[in-house]
Symmetry: C2
Subunit: 320 residues, 2 copies
């Protein structure tokens, strides 16, 4: 049997083409972003779209509600879609909406995107004040629900405090170590250490801006970084979170960056050009080969490509 | 003619009785809280209620939209109601909703209530990170609209940064100096100094928890504090912001403190007993007498009771 494969985050412009490529790449599960900004009604609409997509393409994808859906999708040669938010703004100041999000099908949520949220601080703010009063209650409620706490865009203090406050492990679904590519969006060593020691997960990102060398970063450099990270903190906490933004128009980038929180007019930019060795889901098998070349054993490469996410999701999503 | 009187903040359980008492007390204008927490639709509903109240009681009150409405209300022996929010949560992460709030009739907004908001930090959080990225844009937009920036519940750094960032003067509509009653909710000297120097306003609060001696605080102690504050920072920045919560049930207190951001069950508490000399709007004239006794000249007492708010509102609300 093929090894289990999961992608810790994608934000493709979803289409039958993308879903077929997921099958061609052998992807068993994807955490799919349904919202960056906006309100609860917008998440309802986005989730309704996913329900419709999963009916229309039921031979390709399955809307995952529980951990067992991952294995269910794998057994039926489909890809399990785990919906997630990159920002808690849809719950506003109403913590009871976390359960409502869960009931709608949301299974991952970032405590912050780039900016300050009501729960914690995003990495782009001048000062990282850590978890807020509401943030501490939100962590407890996400633990209770079995919703994955995602810290990909959090400031370091917010990330550390969330790791500490959470009763179970948390994830950074899509980012790389700062020791390899020192930008604010990547993760400093002390956070990686705390994440690994707490049983959390780091999904290594293939988004060009997160890569040393950007769009020109070679596969072997990326896989060498993965090996270095595994050497420092263990292989158990490593996965892939490709941040694939396939077929997205420029306005998606504007929305990600500015939502409606800024009224400034900004120059429209296109998405950065993806690396040649990861343009769509069909190239996942190439990652496995690259990891083997970088010195990962077959077992460790399989762990990074999916088994680690699988074990982590069981711990977060399956109750007592 | 009677001196002009304005109250910088009230949150009474509004009724014909309260409006009649406003007239009996000679109040020309009140900043009335319409929301603490919640979403935009809840503000729409609260504003619709105010529109209805102002139709029903048009001989007593007037829904104020512009600065001139204050004098219009005064000339027609009515009280101008300036609606305000104690929290920016109703705009969520959508800055364009500030103009929508303004168009609905909201004329004051706090950048934060007790907790972290998307704009800045409330005084009850462990760390005050100051104005956020969205907060800086919100200040500029409120300046453009002519909406009063209220910092009553802000942390000191957030307050200082807002005073600094704002193109016009800002207000702390209801609080007292910490030098008199050193609680986190009152205002430290360096913030009072910056506020006074920037042409801002401090509305002295009559809410028992903000008073040295609480519900037992005597009128002369309060007026002595007013005199001391005027001596330190000038009389020009002083007004009254009574924080009158007349006839409010205990659940209003729970809502103020916890909204829906906390899921914890808490013991229900009643509102603190008001001071004997300020139970309702009819007792405003007694404040004037108290200020005179504490050494304020007739002119300075009139400035504190309303003229200072009047001048401040002109500066904020009247363009060019």
């Amino acid at each position: 049997m093929m090894p289990l494969v999961m992608d810790g985050l994608q934000y493709a412009n979803w289409s039958e083409t993308v879903f077929r490529q997921m099958r061609q790449g052998g992807i068993d599960a994807v955490h799919a972003t349904v919202a960056y900004h906006g309100n609860f009604a917008e998440v309802e609409a986005a989730m309704a779209e996913w329900m419709l997509r999963c009916r229309r393409h039921r031979e390709l994808i399955l809307l995952a509600s529980e951990f067992a859906d991952l294995d269910r999708a794998r057994r039926s040669s489909r890809t399990a879609i785990f919906p997630g938010l990159q920002n808690p703004s849809p719950i506003g100041d109403d913590l009871s909406l976390l359960e409502a999000l869960y009931r709608l099908g949301v299974r991952f949520m970032q405590l912050t995107y780039n900016n300050q949220s009501l729960l914690g601080t995003g990495y782009m703010e001048a000062v990282d004040a850590g978890l807020t009063r509401m943030g501490r209650e939100a962590v407890a409620e996400m633990n209770r629900l079995g919703m994955v706490i995602d810290l990909s865009h959090a400031g370091p203090d917010t990330a550390l405090q969330a790791i500490e406050a959470s009763a179970g492990p948390v994830a950074i679904t899509h980012a790389n170590p700062q020791f390899w590519h020192p930008i604010g969006r990547n993760i400093p060593d002390h956070v990686l250490k705390a994440l690994a020691e707490s049983g959390g997960m780091l999904g290594l990102s293939l988004y060009p801006l997160h890569l040393a060398g950007g769009s020109g970063c070679p596969l072997d450099a990326f896989c060498g970084m993965a090996a270095e990270t595994a050497g420092r903190y263990g292989v158990e906490f490593l996965g892939i979170g490709s941040d694939l933004c396939q077929d997205r128009p420029a306005e998606s980038l504007r929305w990600m960056r500015y939502g409606r929180w800024s009224l400034k007019s900004v120059k429209e930019e296109a998405f950065p050009r993806p690396v040649s060795w990861f343009q769509d889901n069909r190239q996942f098998p190439g990652l496995a080969a690259g990891l083997r070349q970088a010195g990962f054993s077959e077992q460790d490469a399989a762990a990074v490509l999916g088994e680690n996410w699988h074990r982590f999701l069981r711990r977060v999503m399956v109750r007592g």
